[in-house]
């Protein structure tokens, strides 16, 4: 494994982490909610793509066209009902509720679909790649996921900075009460943020299923990576999440290069070091720390 290999693999997986994480970052930035069920939502999207899309006569590779909007609606509904009630109580409750939801979802999937690995069928595309140099291959699927991540983050960034709704969402994250005093219906805007979060994580989940196998408990590990990417990059910065994801990916690949057992560990260490030395992350603002 060469340095180029580490950088390339790290960047590719970092793109996936960023796609996975941007919803988490949005929900935390806007509503101060850490959704511990975020990772499991991705897995549910994967299961929907694999098991339900065929029932609707949609080839799995195109399933995201249906699943993503579906999850957007789901996100809005879950936010306006369950999560809003938790937020109204206190952050403690929200943490517990999302953790509880995570466990319920994982075990529900286990009960219904068993622990067998599943993947999203994309035919022969899954193994196609192009060669960079003698030892480095770039898989087309991974590259498209990175491309999708950049696209999604770009669109999201434009949405937040240029559109009316996006601006008001930013206002709500800055100061919820002041935004209410400007006429913002914060509960509705929370719903929109959740809808976006669920939609992006559904896309991430299906992408994951295209790259590798997933099981009911895959959500947990990916949630951890997503959170690490957000913290490393900095809360409140979408592009920071991309940088964080790539940094995490590279750290993990370097760890794997040293010793396969150290892959996740190196990522964890990077996370803990950032928390210790610069808790607001690379691009975060100090005021963003709750």
């Amino acid at each position: 494994m060469t340095l180029l290999n580490i950088l390339v693999e790290g960047t590719l997986i970092g793109g996936f982490y960023a796609l996975f994480a941007c919803g988490l970052s949005l929900m935390f930035g806007v509503m101060k909610v850490i959704n511990l069920a975020h990772g499991d939502m991705a897995v549910v999207a994967g299961y929907v793509a694999v098991f339900l899309a065929p029932k609707w006569h949609v080839p799995e590779v195109w399933s995201f066209l249906i699943v993503v909007p579906l999850f957007a609606i789901l996100g809005y509904v879950v936010q306006r009902t369950l999560l809003q009630k938790s937020i109204d109580r206190d952050p403690f409750t929200t943490l517990l509720v999302t953790f509880g939801l995570s466990v319920v979802i994982e075990n529900l999937l286990l009960a219904v679909y068993s622990a067998n690995g599943q993947s999203v069928n994309i035919g022969s595309l899954v193994s196609k790649s192009f060669q960079l140099n003698s030892s480095t291959y770039v898989s087309y699927v991974a590259l498209s996921v990175l491309g999708a991540a950049v696209l999604v983050l770009g669109v999201l960034q434009l949405f937040l900075s240029r559109t009316n709704t996006g601006r008001v969402i930013r206002a709500v994250s800055d100061d919820r009460e002041a935004a209410q005093l400007c006429g913002a219906n914060y509960k509705h805007l929370f719903g929109i943020a959740a809808a976006i979060s669920f939609a992006t994580v559904a896309l991430a989940g299906i992408s994951y299923g295209m790259m590798t196998e997933f099981t009911p408990t895959s959500g947990g590990a990916n949630l951890l990576f997503a959170f690490e990417a957000v913290v490393i990059g900095g809360i409140g910065s979408l592009w920071g999440t991309l940088v964080g994801g790539i940094a995490l990916g590279i750290a993990q690949q370097w760890g794997a290069h040293v010793n396969p057992a150290y892959q996740i560990l190196f990522g964890n260490f990077l996370f803990l070091i950032v928390l210790a030395v610069r808790p607001q992350g690379l691009f975060g603002r100090k005021e963003a720390m709750a």
């Binding site: 002041a178 209410q180 005093l181 006429g183 914060y186 005021e287």
Partner: protein, 247 residues
């Protein structure tokens, strides 16, 4: 200057913070072009009063009528679209945004009326040059002006100002208060809360004094003596027994 039906009519409003009674059976009216100044010491309940009218706090009992409608059940954002805007204590600008963005957010649910962003720029001529600057770099006085502008662009019928002079230099406070007549001229009713009694009374058409949540004095500023105000504000005379403080 009482019009037949006031814009805002508060009747026997009582508000609690947990077990503490912050506002105790307070009643008043604000009509078009009125300036009602609510004065009182720290903790007298003034901010709670404004926040409750704005919808950020629940009243225990009492009525809030706006243009004839009982709005106690309206969420805060709906009160804004009905025509009540609050400039909150501490300015509360959107720190990650520019001046212009703050105003745009303030205008996003605006009613039709005299005040749009251009009108606010006329009111505060220094703003157009700074409109792309982030507000967190502004001075206290500038931030206060932006906060007022943000509330104005919604074209409220009643504008509430909570302690706008807090933390500002006297000359800055004066400049802020200079715009009140212009606001009032367009027919907006103003309800303002001030710890600085003389400043509050200078712009007011009527005054209300609160002490520990209840009304201790009411009337036109020109009809109130400083002794009356002192007693209403503090609850008793300052100075030695039997001596009167002169203005």
């Amino acid at each position: 200057m009482d019009t037949p039906s006031p814009l805002l009519a508060v009747t026997d409003l009582t508000v609690h913070h947990g077990q503490l009674c912050a506002v105790d059976s307070v009643s008043f009216e604000v009509g078009r072009g009125d300036v009602l100044a609510v004065i009182g010491a720290n903790g007298a309940g003034k901010s709670t009063l404004l926040r409750t009218i704005a919808g950020l706090h629940h009243a225990t009992s009492g009525e809030i009528n706006f243009e004839g409608h009982e709005i106690s059940a309206y969420p805060a954002h709906r009160r804004v679209t009905s025509g009540i805007s609050l400039v909150p204590e501490g300015r509360r600008l959107f720190q990650s945004m520019t001046l212009e963005e703050n105003l745009i957010v303030g205008a996003h649910k605006a009613a039709a009326g005299a005040f749009d962003i251009a009108a606010v720029y006329e009111l505060f001529p220094w703003m157009p040059d700074r409109r792309k600057s982030k507000v967190r770099q502004f001075s206290g006085g500038e931030q206060q002006a932006v906060a007022i502008g943000r509330a104005l662009v919604a074209n409220p019928k009643v504008l509430m100002l909570d302690e706008v002079s807090l933390g500002l230099a006297p000359i800055v406070i004066e400049r802020i208060y200079e715009i009140i007549p212009q606001i009032v001229a367009s027919g907006i009713g103003v309800l303002l809360v001030e710890q600085d009694v003389s400043q509050g009374l200078r712009v007011a058409s009527r005054a209300l004094c609160l002490l520990e949540g209840h009304t201790t004095l009411e009337g036109r500023p020109e009809e109130l003596t400083s002794e009356q105000i002192e007693i209403a504000y503090f609850g008793s005379h300052l100075g030695a027994q039997g001596e009167k403080e002169s203005a």
